[in-house]
């Protein structure tokens, strides 16, 4: 392609000025945009309204394509499931038999646990979900991992509430619009979750890597206690995430901790529930038993 005519558009003063003005606008706007970006990194909530509004526009399309195609993100799993069906069937049957045996043992323990709790007059900590919805879609062209949740303020979703699937933690609500809300996924680089090892309560921090895995860093650096297969759950430290939600399983050790894979894959889960944020007033509201009904007047 030949290069355009000379940079100066002829002798016309007007054309020269308008070209100059275009460059001034472009450079000023670009610098302003850069400042805006730095501001919105520092205060992501401030600019959330703009983004929520635009997501409200695309959400109906996402709902439509979802209902037509279903979720296409699990397609690689379907293919591999067909390929490995026979061996998987054998393995699953073996696992099922083993799990049944464990289930019997566990149910006995559960009953014992219930009786002991009644003795202690402990309330079963009821973590009733605010609402249930499903993940419509997510950003897929940038390094931020933000998913779009199909429910919003209309059912009481507010920013900061944790989101979980059946298998484990998904993330937290970043901002909520009238009918959709945005979820910062567990695997986002900026999402840090206080966790502990399920086996012995060893505290640690889970930090997203942005590519679907998590970095686990222990709080004491002296030794690296993690082993592949360790299950990590939320610790409830620092509020926000209620304790004992499954988070991840350790895949391998790294020099400064471990690499873990989330137990709930956002691409695979169908329904998610939005929980109450684990803040002091919410905890107290759950812990206080319902007031006893006033005794009936004696005749």
């Amino acid at each position: 392609m030949v290069r355009p005519a000379a940079r100066r558009p002829g002798q016309s003063r007007k054309a020269q000025t308008s070209l100059f003005v275009a460059y001034v606008i472009a450079v000023t706007g670009a610098v302003a945009g850069l400042l805006l970006a730095i501001l919105s990194v520092a205060d992501p909530v401030g600019f959330a309204a703009l983004r929520v509004a635009s997501h409200e526009v695309t959400a109906p399309v996402a709902r439509g394509t979802r209902s037509v195609i279903g979720s296409i993100s699990g397609i690689d799993d379907w293919v591999s499931a067909y390929v490995g069906a026979g061996s998987q069937n054998r393995r699953l049957r073996k696992e099922l038999a083993e799990t049944r045996r464990q289930l019997v043992a566990t149910s006995a323990l559960q009953e014992e646990n219930r009786q002991l709790k009644v003795l202690l007059k402990l309330q079963d900590n009821d973590k009733a979900a605010v609402a249930n919805g499903y993940l419509l879609t997510s950003t897929s062209t940038s390094s931020k991992r933000i998913a779009l949740l199909s429910i919003g303020r209309n059912v009481g979703v507010a920013s900061g509430q944790p989101v979980r699937g059946a298998d484990g933690l998904i993330g937290r609500v970043l901002s909520s619009g009238p009918s959709v809300s945005q979820v910062l996924l567990l695997t986002d680089i900026d999402n840090i979750v206080p966790i502990r090892r399920a086996r012995d309560g060893l505290p640690a921090l889970a930090n997203g890597r942005g590519n679907g895995d998590l970095d686990i860093r222990t709080l004491n650096i002296a030794n690296n206690p993690f082993k592949p297969g360790d299950i990590l759950v939320t610790s409830g430290t620092g509020g926000l995430y209620p304790p004992n939600i499954p988070v991840a399983i350790v895949v391998r050790r790294t020099p400064d901790g471990a690499l873990a894979r989330p137990l709930a894959d956002p691409a695979q889960v169908d329904a998610v529930s939005v929980l109450r944020a684990y803040t002091p007033d919410n905890i107290e509201a759950q812990a206080v038993p319902a007031p006893l009904p006033a005794p009936a007047p004696q005749p």
Partner: protein, 174 residues
């Protein structure tokens, strides 16, 4: 007499269509990833809006003013998840860079265009990721967007052809 055929000899293409087609293609491509029922665990899709934006400018450099990245970048920021403002700045700098390359290189060939687009995509995606995660480890952030940059660079010729198709439609006389 055929009443439907009201074309006149030498009539130019519709001005409205000439203006709208490029802008609409970039805007639609920016918003498309959020309309697909797919929850991605890493940046898997190439930046579709950005690729169309660069290809339009490489094909028709005189079509847009140099500040066109301001509105189109804002639109892309709303959907990409990157902090609002990053694409405004980076897309506009890309426009200026394309203007500069067009002045410097006398005859731009296909491979020149490909190289310019690949270079700009790599720079924009890297800087956008670094702006979005200022506290994270730099190597990790760049490693995260590297596969996407490679895929985007390989897809540039395809997007050039698509842009060419749209351009033919844009300039078609009715």
């Amino acid at each position: 007499m055929n009443r439907a055929d009201t074309r006149r000899l030498g009539e130019p293409a519709s001005l409205w269509r000439m203006r709208v087609v490029p802008v609409a293609s970039v805007m639609l491509a920016s918003a498309l990833p959020l309309m697909l029922p797919m929850v991605a665990s890493s940046p898997v899709l190439p930046p579709l809006g950005l690729l169309f934006f660069l290809c339009w400018q490489l094909l028709r450099i005189e079509m847009w003013p140099v500040w066109i990245g301001l509105p189109l970048g804002l639109w892309d920021d709303l959907f990409s998840g990157a902090p609002i403002g990053s694409a405004i700045a980076l897309w506009t700098f890309a426009s200026i860079a394309i203007q500069y390359f067009a002045q410097r290189i006398y005859w731009r060939g296909f491979f020149h265009d490909w190289a310019i687009a690949a270079l700009l995509v790599a720079a924009i995606q890297s800087f956008a990721a670094l702006i979005a995660h200022p506290d994270a480890h730099m190597g990790k952030v760049l490693g995260l967007v590297a596969p996407q940059i490679i895929v985007s660079a390989l897809l540039v010729p395809l997007f050039m052809r698509l842009t060419g198709l749209f351009d033919n439609f844009r300039l078609k006389r009715r």
